[in-house]
Symmetry: C2
Subunit: 247 residues, 2 copies
């Protein structure tokens, strides 16, 4: 029995998120089905980041156990033959049998992209959030700095969370603009339910002048979801990658 | 009667190209239908670049004549309400009644994008051509330089062309790489049928070592389609924009 780690890229548009659920097609469900067929035995993956419906990925991580004889590095190629075009394995390799992608220290990186121009772009519509309003980039950058570090992010968490603690550490949070594309880049040791989308929605409110950068410490201190901005739409969010402590 | 100029962006994936044809949905056909409904009179646009099936646009140009009372600048907003998500007007304004987008001097700019990495990216699959082979960027750049200027591009033209002359001028042809994305950027006074895709296919052949940069002068001189490389796939090509002499 080997444990195999996959790096999984996907366009989330046509999926009901990562996690298997009774209704609707999910990334996890499609992976399980294709791996079960490929390996000739029942396979169930364990995902690192259970992304929401509509969220994309360049580098989510999943592991599974198998007795199949395909060399671990070849599984990516064989699995991609069976997967639909909107899910593509980027790497496959063997890892220690006790490696669990949600039970070890990691740094997760997400990007939230905002297309800031007069009219939408048909070519960017699936993975950027369109905003025609004037956005003050410097204000967004100032606001972002208040959020870096270890904080109680309860204000930036869906009230539907089941997390034991709402304390998380953000290692890096930057806001950059190239032409008409604003990218929020965030790296942390973990993110609460909807946290990146609420961070993005709050930073956009700062950008359009509905909140001030200096409001951020008060929003954090409130520990109240109502203090932060709206949850930005899922399709602007992409899980970029995960770095694990030992793997 | 006013002549209105539109800047038209679209994702070409689901269209049989620009030009109205008996079978299949086209950009021109959808524009005509939506404009006819909006203006309350029969409308037929004249397009600047009749892009192939599957080719995208950030800035194609179309004009039409109308008696409707909507202020020219507002037509973009009103028309976007009726258009599908994969066609978005970027600008609308009145132009002189004799302005014809194919009968005046212009500089057209296209980009051909190649994703050069081990596995495809689900998020880039609709507007980049995926190539996993090792590509020598410098050789592509050297080859490109031979093509700049006024030449007979008969070798780089589909044999199905109806053009009177195959002489064209390329003002600029660059090949740049950022991370794993190679972009061929070309600006010229006009392009023959399939010309940009054949240029791209030939430059890729140089990149992967199947042709040499120094072969370019001989390929041009041959005036024979068979001398150049293959026609690169349509989905990697995007019409970027058009600058007119007087408008």
């Amino acid at each position: 029995m080997k444990r195999i780690k996959l790096i999984v890229a996907y366009e989330g548009t046509n999926y009901n998120g990562w996690q298997v659920q009774p209704n609707g097609i999910t990334i996890e469900g499609v992976l399980n089905g294709c791996l079960t067929a490929l390996c000739g035995e029942p396979v169930a993956v364990i995902g690192a980041s259970r992304t929401d419906s509509g969220v994309h990925s360049l580098g989510n991580v999943a592991v599974f156990d198998t007795r199949c004889k395909i060399p671990p590095e070849k599984i990516a190629y064989a699995l991609n033959q069976r997967l639909p075009q909107d899910i593509v394995i980027q790497d496959s390799r063997e890892v220690p049998p006790d490696f669990h992608p949600r039970r070890c220290e990691s740094r997760k990186t997400y990007e939230y992209k905002i297309l800031n121009r007069r009219f939408p772009s048909p070519l960017a519509r699936r993975d950027t959030y369109f905003c025609y309003r004037k956005i003050n980039l410097e204000h967004m950058q100032q606001a972002a700095q208040y959020l870096v570090g270890e904080h109680d992010f309860k204000s930036f968490c869906s009230i539907h969370t089941q997390a034991e603690t709402t304390i998380r550490t953000i290692y890096e949070l930057t806001v950059a603009k190239e032409k008409d594309l604003i990218t929020i880049h965030v790296c942390g040791n973990g993110f609460l339910y909807n946290m990146v989308r609420i961070l993005a929605g709050t930073l956009v409110q700062v950008g359009i002048g509905e909140k001030k950068p200096e409001d951020m410490p008060f929003i954090l201190a409130a520990c109240d979801r109502a203090a932060a901005g709206p949850t930005a739409p899922a399709h602007g969010l992409t899980m970029v990658g995960i770095a694990f402590g030992k793997i």
